[in-house]
């Protein structure tokens, strides 16, 4: 050997960089989940009873509008079941999933969202703000949950929803810029069901046989708290599958048909659902409502934020049969031994009703979007050719981008940059392009319903031949969608619904119409800012009682019999989760840093920026860089 000690040291320095830097990422992941609750301590699959989220009663009702009041707040819930440690969640009215809102077409709703969350996440150390998006609604831009239209703790906002679309399964969830993933993972998500006359007239299952299945994965530490690990900004993956907030529940079902509204509310996990019996899942509805015709499918792949209405016929099974909803995990998820099953159905020996026990062959044949073809596509003014735009979702320079842009670029342009400027009522084709092989992107286009034309030139999957607002863009896939930009004008977002991708920073915006910010009456940030709770005013002013004999409320205005004195008392949470645990054991808050990734050196300028407290509804929301600096400047608390 002729290597001197000095040579060895030099080679050693090189070796340390070559080996340790790549391994650091893995080590961080292992550290983040080191305190994970062991599988043996988790509840047994199918041991906990199924539960539905409660339906939210309106705070008030006028002739054409329902008013709802929701508080976003922290709560400790026995999610893992009796005898297990409670979990701190953030929920709409303190439950997760939040209460379901049931609405009817052409009857408006106003939902007051009040942020009662802490100023700073107690464990993950980030400044808290929210923005509430009603996913699937053609809302005005200022009520669409624009990411940078934030509401900080102590503030609130009245969101107005028009209900001008067909019956469908919507959901409301957090959309706060750069923290959507954490907020949604903490629990800020809930279902919102819109009915219309046509849908209600069909003999498909309704009422108690129309059941929401909000599927989400989570990971818990040994204290029962949620474990956040973004896998270096790739995604958050849990080892526990929750259905309506219950781990792997068992649902007793009557021997008849049920209609399940499946919503994938996971942050990053997609599912490929099937029944262990091999019987088909009959898909009757997609994101934007009923499909033209039902589609029996052996399996249904559900990306994040996608909704499918699925009918399962349990009359085929003997009483006592346990039918398991399984998950054949699509690729590029992080799987655990426990993520291959979702829930079970145990067939009862009797039914109480066989009404609405059919699957109509014609469900919604007149839906406009499903009739769109190439002939409908608007022509470009300059070229005279059909308008086809390419939207490329890719990772570039450690950022998730859309056509090379990040949301931070949009912020830096003072929200003027758009990926497309569309004329009102134009029909366009967008090619959603994922050139990466290591991940999939469920792409959500706000405002519109679209029809999937093809996937890499092949026909879409049978279960997605319905109106959609999220397209599962798989690895190395180009999905072409066609849509009409109707109902509204203004700026709307488009983003990947892997919420970690969205936060870092795979989100852009398009504009319908050509209003500039200074004259835009529906500027998503300026048009209707959040207000301090004390300055919000009355959500609804109840008319003074008169002696005209017009009945309650007078003037056709009705007040629900039970107006909640305080929004969402904790009682339903306990009932919903099937637990008897009511006490909240005090616990020492464990500080887990969601991203241990050390950042670039913080300059003094950035520190100053980071220290500035974000103002609610500020025109310019804090940039991602500022947020990182903020974390750094408070790093000692991580």
């Amino acid at each position: 050997m002729q290597l001197s000690r000095r040579d060895l040291l030099k080679v050693g320095l090189f070796s340390s960089a070559a080996l340790m830097l790549p391994a650091e990422r893995v080590a961080r992941t292992q550290l983040a989940i080191a305190n994970r609750m062991p599988q043996s301590a988790l509840p047994e699959p199918f041991s906990l009873p199924f539960a539905k989220p409660p339906v939210l009663a309106p705070f008030a009702q006028s002739l054409d509008t329902d008013y709802y009041l929701i508080e976003q707040r922290a709560q400790q819930l026995p999610i893992l079941g009796p005898g297990k440690p409670a979990t701190t969640i953030w929920g709409y009215n303190g439950i997760t999933p939040g209460p379901t809102i049931v609405a009817n077409r052409n009857r408006k709703t106003v939902v007051r969202q009040i942020n009662r969350l802490p100023e700073q996440h107690p464990a993950w150390d980030y400044p808290v703000w929210t923005s509430t998006h009603l996913h699937g609604s053609a809302s005005l831009p200022e009520y669409d949950g624009y990411a940078s239209d934030i509401t900080t703790p102590g503030f609130g906002k009245d969101y107005q929803y028009p209900q001008i679309q067909d019956a469908r399964t919507l959901w409301y969830h957090d959309h706060g810029v750069h923290h959507t993933a954490e907020n949604a993972y903490m629990g800020l998500a809930a279902m919102y069901i819109l009915h219309d006359q046509h849908e209600l007239s069909l003999p498909i299952p309704h009422g108690e046989y129309d059941v929401p299945l909000i599927i989400k994965d989570a990971m818990f530490d040994s204290n029962g708290e949620l474990v956040p690990d973004t896998h270096s900004d790739s995604g958050i993956y849990g080892d526990v599958i929750l259905v309506n907030g219950v781990p792997w529940p068992d649902m007793p079902v009557e021997p008849r048909k049920y209609r399940f509204r499946v919503l994938n509310a996971s942050v990053s996990r997609s599912y490929d659902l099937s029944l262990n019996t091999g019987e088909p899942l009959v898909v009757i509805g997609t994101d934007g409502g009923l499909m033209p015709h039902p589609a029996p499918c052996a399996h249904v792949k559900v990306g994040m934020a996608e909704r499918y209405e699925i009918v399962i016929d349990f009359s085929k099974y003997k009483p006592g049969t346990q039918v398991v909803l399984e998950n054949i995990s699509p690729k590029n998820n992080i799987d655990y031994d426990t993520t291959n099953v979702v829930m079970a159905f145990t067939v009862k020996d009797h039914y109480t009703s066989l009404a609405n026990n059919e699957i109509s062959q014609d469900l919604n044949p007149n839906m406009d979007v499903m009739g769109l073809t190439m002939r409908d596509v608007s022509l470009d003014d300059d070229t005279g050719k059909p308008i086809i735009r390419n939207m490329r979702f890719e990772r570039r320079d450690s950022h998730w981008t859309v056509n090379g842009q990040t949301w931070e670029d949009i912020v830096n342009s003072d929200y003027n940059d758009v990926c497309a400027k569309v004329k009102p009522n134009d029909v366009e084709i967008w090619e959603l392009d994922n050139p990466g092989g290591g991940w999939f992107h469920p792409v959500h286009i706000h405002l519109v319903d679209f029809k999937i034309l093809d996937r890499n030139g092949r026909a879409p999957e049978p279960y997605e031949v319905g109106p959609k607002d999220v397209a599962y863009v798989g690895e190395n896939e180009v999905v072409r969608v066609i849509m009409r930009f109707e109902h509204r004008q203004g700026k709307y977002m488009m983003h990947c619904h892997n919420l970690v991708h969205e936060d870092h920073d795979m989100m852009t915006q398009f504009q319908v119409g050509d209003a500039t910010r200074d004259v835009d009456l529906h500027d998503p940030i300026e048009a209707d800012k959040c207000k301090e709770v004390g300055k919000l005013g009355d959500l609804y002013t109840f008319p003074k009682p008169d002696n005209s004999g017009h009945g309650k409320g007078g003037g056709g205005i009705s007040v629900p019999a039970a107006i909640p004195a305080a929004p969402a008392a904790p009682a339903p949470q306990v009932r919903v989760l099937g637990s008897v645990k009511k006490s909240k054991p005090k616990r020492k808050v464990k500080k887990v840093k969601i991203k241990a990734k050390p950042k670039r050196k913080v300059t003094a300028k950035k520190k100053v920026k980071a220290k500035a407290k974000p103002k609610a509804g500020a025109r310019k929301s804090p940039s991602k860089r500022a947020l990182r600096s903020k974390r750094l400047s408070g790093g000692g608390r991580g």
Binding site: M1, L3, K10, P22, G437, K599
Partner: protein, 169 residues
């Protein structure tokens, strides 16, 4: 006298084709190269399924490391063999680093940051060991150049790590 005794020996060592009995270090390097080649061959098929070029790259790495084995044994003190072995293995280590700390630069998995597993970590450690061993068989001038180059790369990587976000870690 001492100088005169050394010079002919050095000349002999540097002469291509000079037969030498390989020592423990050469056998170790050859053995490590054999194992690394075998690992790369065994992963060729799975990478080929992802993209033919990934598979071809693994095949190429395996073939190179397999050819190093007889070369090291046959010419254990050849500077050319040493430099070629060092350069090839550093290239492989560089690709490992790039794909794990930044992302895969080409093909359908462009942008994917590969996970670090036990096998690839151990293989890379072995390749660095091969480099270190082969350095000991090079001439002092070559060795000095290569070692200082490695030092600079090492310093640069650590500086990048703490000053930028280029590295995923």
């Amino acid at each position: 006298m001492a100088d005169q005794a050394v010079r002919p020996l050095a000349a002999t060592v540097a002469r291509p084709g000079a037969l030498r009995v390989p020592g423990l270090a050469a056998w170790t390097a050859a053995g490590l190269s054999f194992v690394a080649a075998w690992i790369h061959f065994s992963y060729t098929a799975s990478h080929w399924r992802d993209w033919w070029a990934y598979g071809a790259f693994f095949l190429g790495m395996g073939m190179f490391q397999a050819l190093c084995v007889p070369a090291i044994v046959r010419w254990p003190r050849s500077t050319w063999v040493a430099v070629a072995t060092i350069a090839g293995n550093l290239g492989i280590v560089g690709m490992y680093f790039y794909s794990r700390a930044i992302y895969i630069p080409l093909g359908p998995h462009t942008g994917v940051v590969e996970d670090v597993g036990v096998v690839d970590f151990a293989t890379t450690a072995g390749e660095i060991a091969i480099v270190a061993i082969m350095l000991s068989t090079t001439g002092s001038r070559s060795r000095r150049v290569i070692v200082n180059l490695l030092l600079l790369i090492g310093i640069a990587l650590w500086v990048l790590r703490f000053t930028t976000q280029i590295l995923w870690g």
